[in-house]
Subunit: 229 residues, 2 copies
């Protein structure tokens, strides 16, 4: 195999990975799978895309090696091949922000502008959390919280927030997080909490980043105490 052939083969394979990423739905699927494994129908629902279409996108991702699948009864459960994949998706987002004016505009006007205060950094959160100065709220769906969440975080899915908000004390600052910087759940939560005069900031990092950084995550469902009306 000549030097030239090796180079061409390598870059062609890299291109195959990029090709697998080259569709909005597939990127959204990877963002979801970064939170934990899921079956096809659930993904289809969360995405708002037909089951057949979702299945085919998942198969393309699998063919590119970015996800793997296993059977569980009559369901097929897909999972990310590696946390590196979600880092790659974030990297694409970062480059898109840097290189595409249209993206930069959306991010600044629609996402960043909601943040009256700058997002909390991972380091800062560690400090605040250690001296119990903040309440960490995970606003993702219960399944994703159960798969992995930040140590000490409580789970209040966005859809339940209005109902359960009253349990949150107003004295302590609240830090919300969701699936990552391009997930909008935390922004919606922040807006809602601010309207009710909570002090709330956002954590940009999320579980996949946290785990990739070698920091510990907790697993298991939210407490029954919180889940009761």
């Amino acid at each position: 195999m000549s030097t030239r052939e090796i180079r061409q083969t390598l870059f062609a394979q890299f291109a195959a990975v990029a090709d697998a990423l080259a569709h909005g739905s597939r990127l959204a699927l990877l963002e979801l799978l970064a939170q934990g494994e899921r079956d096809v129908e659930t993904l289809s629902g969360l995405l708002g895309v037909s089951v057949a279409s979702t299945s085919q996108h998942l198969q393309r991702l699998k063919h590119a090696g970015l996800v793997s699948a296993r059977r569980d009864g009559r369901r097929r459960i897909y999972r990310l091949a590696s946390d590196e994949v979600s880092a790659l998706v974030l990297n694409i987002g970062k480059v898109a922000e840097a290189c595409l004016a249209s993206v930069e505009k959306i991010v600044n006007q629609q996402l960043r502008a909601q943040d009256e205060w700058p997002p909390v950094s991972t380091d800062e959160l560690a400090t605040l959390s250690a001296r119990r100065a903040v309440i960490i709220v995970d606003v993702r769906p219960a399944e994703e919280y159960a798969a992995a969440h930040l140590p000490g975080a409580v789970n209040i899915p966005l859809e339940a927030l209005r109902r359960k908000m009253s349990r949150l004390p107003r004295e302590r600052e609240i830090v919300v997080y969701c699936r990552g910087p391009y997930c909008l759940l935390a922004l919606d939560a922040m807006r809602m909490l601010r309207r009710h005069h909570y002090r709330v900031r956002r954590l940009e990092e999320s579980v996949p980043d946290w785990r990739r950084a070698g920091l510990p995550v907790e697993t298991g469902p939210g407490s029954v105490r919180h889940a009761r009306a």
Copy 2:
């Protein structure tokens, strides 16, 4: 603009970036442009792809915001929009290595296997270089060396190496580098030097990484002394 629309727009734009990367020739173009700006004809020659095709690939990259172009006389000079783009290309390579068995095999058998000793790390090189324990050899073409090279490196393009090798002292260890981990120039150089009983290792990082890490690079052509027969 609804939350859902924002999310879909964002991911669609991210997908456009991935789409721009989804071709072997375009990834190879980005690797070349990461070394410094270049005109279309030169890129076409280095790539071994027709001028028209090269031009069209460059335009797609430009449309995605990954490169920019300026005129210089009758030439059109393309350059990377940001060093982040070359980091993204490396990230894709890394994920491809982790996720695609075929890539992992090629990298291990064809690239890594050539390294009898592990590559030099950036930190190690800094130490070795500070006490003049090594000679750093940049085996890229002269234009790329001139655009930016590691401090203290001498330029011996691979094609000139056989002729100029004798100038290298055998007492000191040699560290070679080229365009990055997926460029094969340094490997060829290493093989050639080892056949002539030089002690030689490889630096995996390259100029774009070096610069992105905030380390200083030098510019300017190689010395006349070295260029003379």
